[in-house]
């Protein structure tokens, strides 16, 4: 009999209803331990790089904001950094500050979304409900400023499209206070919980060496002790003027990544406050008539890591090449380093820990060569939750309770 046929394989994917994209993971398992992982992507390839070549320079931001609904501020900003580099244009100061505010609001809502999903994966649905509840006002703020909850379409070559009116600033500050208080409570509840310590520590470790080899970025790298952040290393927009620090944790496990994200929310709130306080007066855009021939590299720190755009112009009104690298493109392959040797019940969480802009785990078939049991996604999720419940029992921890103020 063919030996390869006997390999127990666990198929994860190719569609996930929680996150709107598709991906397929094939895990080879030995009993409960994962021994190999293979990924197939591009079920939903939209050819955005090719479409971009057919659009004019000022139309492209609206296209790239649709690369991902959650990162719809950082993609256009990275593109605009590249185009402004070619054109030699600098946006007015006020526009730079508005760009920071929109991008940091985006980071807060994206990180809260991840915290919620992480809770859901390990059976802490309370965390899921609360995190998403606190995320809602952030989206409302974005809607008030740009007109949209996602796909803000607020940046254009040479500046911004929508201004932040002065009368809105007190409202934003007030909301920030509430969000900060709620997030503080959530962070405390998560970081002090003994079950979560037991469940998340030492799970899905991505070592610093592996992180360098797989060239990961964002919270995935910062959770492995690599303190890189485009906002700090190559400051764009108004990040160079603001006072904040790069959060990093050395452990590399899921817990470290959760800590990095939670603490980053506070840094973002701090940044928005300072940006609103310093918000300079003046115009929000300069007119850009022509993009000369040339090439530019623009990058921006999206919630999930570095978003990189390369644009080449031949002096016409359309880019002749536009390369987009979203952060998950380098973060997802690092599963090869973090999942192998893991228990199956930890895999859903490890896969989710890089906050992949992706699908992950719907339609799971666990094929066990010894018993021929076929499970589905629900069963896998249940395994993950059962482990949490088991740990909870061992520790004797009470149910996670949160109080609303």
């Amino acid at each position: 009999m063919n030996k390869a046929m006997n390999k127990p394989v666990l198929a994860v994917g190719p569609f996930h209803p929680l996150q709107e994209e598709m991906e397929y993971f094939q895990l080879t398992v030995d009993g409960e331990i994962v021994t190999d992982i293979d990924v197939r992507i591009s079920y939903n390839h939209r050819g955005i790089e090719k479409i971009s070549e057919t659009l004019q320079f000022d139309q492209v931001p609206y296209l790239v904001s649709r690369v991902c609904g959650i990162c719809s501020a950082s993609h256009p900003l990275a593109y605009i950094n590249a185009v402004e580099e070619i054109a030699g244009v600098t946006a007015p100061e006020r526009a730079q500050y508005i760009r920071v505010i929109i991008n940091e609001l985006e980071r807060i809502h994206s990180h809260l979304l991840w915290v919620g999903l992480g809770g859901h994966f390990i059976g802490y649905d309370t965390v899921f409900m609360w995190a998403w509840k606190y995320r809602e006002p952030v989206l409302d703020l974005l809607e008030a400023i740009t007109g949209n909850r996602n796909n803000y379409g607020n940046v254009c070559v040479g500046g911004c499209r929508e201004d932040i009116p002065d009368e809105m600033i007190p409202k934003i500050l007030k909301e920030l206070d509430t969000i900060e208080k709620k997030t503080e409570m959530l962070t405390k509840a998560v970081l002090d919980d003994p079950v979560l310590h037991a469940r998340l520590k030492g799970v899905g470790i991505l070592t610093k060496e592996a992180a360098v080899k797989y060239a990961v970025t964002g919270p995935t790298a910062r959770g492995s002790g690599i303190a890189i952040d485009v906002r700090h290393d190559d400051p764009y927009a108004a990040y160079g003027d603001l006072d904040w620090k790069v959060i990093s944790q050395p452990e590399g496990d899921v817990f470290a990544k959760a800590v990095v994200r939670l603490l980053e929310i506070f840094e973002s709130i701090k940044m928005i406050r300072e940006a609103l306080k310093k918000l300079p007066k003046g115009p929000i855009a300069v007119e850009v008539k022509q993009i000369p021939p040339g090439e530019g590299c623009g990058h921006a720190e999206a919630p999930r890591g570095e978003t990189f755009h390369y644009v080449r112009s031949d002096g016409g009104n359309r880019p002749i090449r536009h390369k987009i690298r979203a952060p998950s493109y380098v973060n997802v392959p690092s599963f090869k380093a973090s999942c192998i040797g893991q228990n199956i019940s930890d895999v859903t969480l490890t896969l989710a820990s890089v906050d992949p802009c992706y699908s992950c785990t719907e339609r799971v078939a666990v094929v066990d060569s010894h018993h021929n049991i076929i499970n589905d996604y629900e069963a896998l999720l249940q395994m993950s939750r059962d482990k949490t419940a088991r740990l909870k029992k061992e520790i004797g921890a009470p149910e996670l309770k949160m109080e609303e103020s």
């Binding site: 992507i41 090719k50 080899k213 400051p235 090449r321 380098v330």
Partner: protein
């Protein structure tokens, strides 16, 4: 590594390069022939410990280009290696995946969409294109693909 050191170290591989251009502060473009690209990338990644960002394949006027973007996070520099492939009929380039595992996907993608052969790649399967996609049709090339009659793309 600070900028001065970076510039000094780049001089070491000067015989492998065509030129070094700084377009603006923190953006460095170095171009080389395709056969030297692998060595240059290895030098940047292993000796200078720059971070690999991504590679870009371009169908240029009379050649193909593969750009390897690297970041020096201490100074915020982006160093782009421009590998020029002059053979348009059978374009090929050496794989960098053996020493940068993070480049596996992008090299498969470049192979899919531009038809550039990546030599010594450890896992050269299709990444972007579906298994049904006809052989020899590359969606990101500027030339119109010659497709057999009746082939549905």
């Amino acid at each position: 590594m600070n900028r001065e050191k970076l510039n000094n170290r780049l001089q070491k591989i000067k015989d492998k390069l065509i030129d070094i251009v700084q377009t603006r502060d923190r953006r460095i473009y170095i171009s080389c022939e395709s056969q030297n690209a692998c060595d240059v990338c290895k030098f940047l990644f292993e000796d200078l410990t720059l971070r690999f960002i991504i590679a870009t394949g371009i169908d240029s006027d009379n050649c193909f280009e593969v750009l390897y973007h690297f970041a020096n996070d201490e100074t915020g520099d982006i160093v782009t290696v421009k590998a020029i492939i002059r053979d348009r009929e059978n374009p090929s380039i050496e794989s960098i995946t053996p020493f940068i595992p993070g480049a596996e996907w992008i090299e498969r993608e470049i192979h899919d969409i531009l038809g550039i052969e990546i030599k010594n790649h450890p896992n050269m399967r299709r990444l972007i294109l579906h298994d049904d996609w006809p052989e020899g049709v590359y969606p990101l090339r500027k030339t119109r693909p010659e497709v057999n009659e009746g082939t549905v793309i």
